[in-house]
């Protein structure tokens, strides 16, 4: 059955190339080829919907983008023209406030976990930060509704919406900042301490500036995630087609809410505007994400150098 050294020359005289495969080997080789093609095929299949979604949103959205789209309030769904100004203003206000709450708090919590936290307290905080990442965003909306609107004097508006979005952003900021802070070289900290700096001076003047680009990356990713959230806003911002610039107690519009409302009614002008809004939202989120990744990569290079 199996060829021995003696009978090989009789089967195939002369030099035998290593590339010649027989029996089992060629079967394995064919299987390898098959898997290669199968996996490439699956990769192609997986990328089809993604290409379709980018293509379709750009194709449909591009038609309605105009100066007017950014500067006027939305008309009733059956009427042509008008724009998402209320949504842009609302999303801007909500994100500004949510970022102002979530990012500093998140970075401080991350510093605590990396450089200060010890023992069981740090472990518990760490565990529950992870747990918090898994909370469904709709639950955050409900919880903020119950916490702020049912139990204090405030009603729907930018304030509860910002609280909800910041709760969604907080664990993302903490986790990404933590990872970045861990990469700050210990020599930097030791050097600072050896020069006589206090620990807080080391943290504020050495560790944080060294990690700044990475921290920005994490913050940008969190903003990207927060800006696209729709579900909690239904329960906290409530939506409004008028431009609202008040922080408290007036229902406020937001970009994702306007897309949602435009998409689910049957009139063509409203649907067209929804595509336009989707294009704007996607561009915003992708710009933030890509920008964050580029910053992050540069940071990784400087730390290694």
């Amino acid at each position: 059955m199996t060829s021995t050294l003696e009978d090989t020359p009789t089967v195939k005289p002369g030099h035998r190339s290593l590339r010649d495969k027989e029996g089992n080997a060629s079967k394995r080789d064919r299987k390898e080829q098959f898997m290669r093609y199968l996996l490439s095929g699956l990769m192609a299949i997986a990328s089809i919907p993604i290409v379709l979604i980018l293509f379709q949103v750009i194709r449909m959205g591009w038609q309605v983008i105009s100066w007017e789209f950014f500067t006027t309030r939305e008309f009733p769904p059956a009427r042509e023209g008008g724009g998402y100004a209320a949504g842009f203003v609302g999303t801007g206000m909500i994100m500004l406030w949510a970022s102002a709450m979530a990012i500093p708090l998140g970075i401080l919590a991350a510093v605590y976990q990396v450089d200060y936290g010890r023992g069981i307290t740090a472990k518990v905080i760490r565990f529950f930060t992870d747990v918090m990442t898994g909370i469904p965003s709709i639950f955050v909306g409900l919880a903020v509704y119950s916490l702020i609107i049912l139990n204090t004097g405030f009603t729907f508006g930018a304030f509860p919406a910002a609280v909800a979005i910041s709760i969604i952003m907080l664990p993302i900021v903490v986790r990404s900042s933590e990872e970045v802070l861990r990469t700050v070289p210990i020599e930097l900290k030791q050097g600072s301490l050896a020069m006589g700096a206090r620990q807080w001076q080391t943290t504020v003047r050495v560790v944080l500036p060294a990690a700044a680009p990475g921290l920005t990356t994490g913050a940008m990713l969190a903003v990207a995630r927060g800006a696209g959230e729709t579900a909690p806003l239904i329960l906290t911002a409530f939506g409004n087609v008028n431009i609202v610039t008040t922080w408290f107690n007036i229902a406020i519009g937001a970009l994702p809410l306007q897309i949602y409302n435009g998409a689910r009614q049957p009139f063509a002008p409203g649907i067209e505007r929804a595509w336009g809004g989707a294009l704007c939202l996607m561009t915003l989120v992708l710009l933030l994400t890509v920008g964050a990744r580029m910053l992050g990569r540069r940071f990784a290079k400087t730390v290694r150098a």
Binding site: I53, V57, L108, P136, I138, A227, P256
Partner: protein, 333 residues
């Protein structure tokens, strides 16, 4: 020697330790950071406890088990008392069902894509591809919902599901007609497209961190690339992939807006058919909240609490598995 020697002999303590408030600065700063760390716990506790308290009346009115396993949902319109009937089992069923459909499509594809990126893709494309996957994981769900509702389902998916119902459905009642425009399957399929990059981001990282020496040893023994993947990489990544899949499942449970636009918003349920318009917990909350009377809002809070419990159980299991496997540092988690 022109410099004057500092006079350390007089009071060495004063030179080495600062004076005044500066001495407390470190302790104050540490306290501030501890406060920031604890704030995460406080926020978490506040939202969970407050919501449970506000949802308590509906649990008392229906009884917790009748609330969870009741199949009748009839919203009441009272401001002061409970008049409706609140059983959320159809929504729980819808949530599990849609998430399961999404996972069935997304998980095998995510594993295949991860293997391709890590082991088969041309070296030059590797970074670009994994970068692309992570960027795609950031596309907001409202965009998927809009695209699914107005383009993908009417143009591609609905003809396909109608064809399946017309051919396979004649034989197997599970796939039988009529195919509603929005149903469990359509929602699950679009959800699969949505969580594909999210799961891929995790599985790719897990597959990329499979122990290299063992792979090299297998190559050294003459294994082909696929054999190495089959007998070294995949067994080593198994628990990590299970954990990643469960995190994806958690994401699918909580997903609201894309599912809401595609699942149908019906309060009936029918486990014998896949092309049936139903509802999920998250979608039902978002769909009915704005028109809900105070008693119904309480019931919606109850749904939220149940949703939280279900996704927390899934999440903690997933994290326990991933932790045992080893830390994975991905932003997608």
């Amino acid at each position: 020697m022109t410099t004057t020697e500092p006079d350390l002999s007089t009071d060495p303590d004063k030179r080495l330790s600062g004076s005044g408030l500066g001495r407390f600065s470190d302790r104050a700063f540490a306290l501030l950071l501890l406060g920031a760390g604890l704030s995460v716990l406080v926020v978490l506790a506040a939202i969970v406890i407050r919501t449970t308290i506000d949802a308590w009346p509906v649990f008392q009115y229906m009884g917790f088990f009748d609330f969870v396993f009741g199949t009748e949902w009839r919203a009441g319109f009272s401001r002061t008392e409970f008049t409706g009937e609140y059983g959320i089992f159809p929504f729980i069923y819808g949530t599990l069902y849609v998430a399961a459909i999404a996972l069935v499509f997304a998980l095998p594809l995510a594993i295949a894509v991860s293997i391709y990126i890590v082991h088969y893709a041309p070296r030059r494309l590797k970074t670009t591809m994994s970068y692309f996957v992570e960027v795609l994981a950031a596309v907001p769900s409202i965009v998927f919902g809009l695209w699914g509702l107005l383009f993908f389902v009417p143009v591609f998916l609905h003809p396909v599901t109608k064809f399946i119902a017309g051919s396979v459905g004649e034989v197997i009642p599970y796939f039988s007609s009529p195919v509603a425009n929005v149903n469990y399957f359509h929602a699950g399929f679009v959800l699969a497209i949505m969580i594909l990059p999210i799961i891929t981001a995790i599985t790719r990282e897990i597959i990329a961190t499979a122990p290299l020496p063992e792979q090299e040893a297998a190559y050294g023994l003459g294994a082909t690339r696929w054999e190495v993947i089959r007998s070294v990489v995949l067994p080593r990544s198994f628990s990590g992939i299970v954990g990643g899949a469960m995190l994806g499942l958690g994401r699918a449970f909580g997903e609201t807006i894309a599912v809401l636009m595609l699942v149908g918003g019906s309060q009936r349920w029918d486990p014998t058919r896949v092309f049936f318009s139903g509802d999920t917990m998250a979608a039902h909350i978002a769909a009915t909240f704005q028109d809900a009377s105070p008693e119904t809002v309480t019931a919606l809070l109850g749904i939220g609490v149940v949703l939280l419990i279900v996704s927390m159980i899934i999440n903690m299991l997933a994290r326990a598995i991933v932790w045992r496997f080893g830390a994975v540092g991905s932003d997608a988690l």
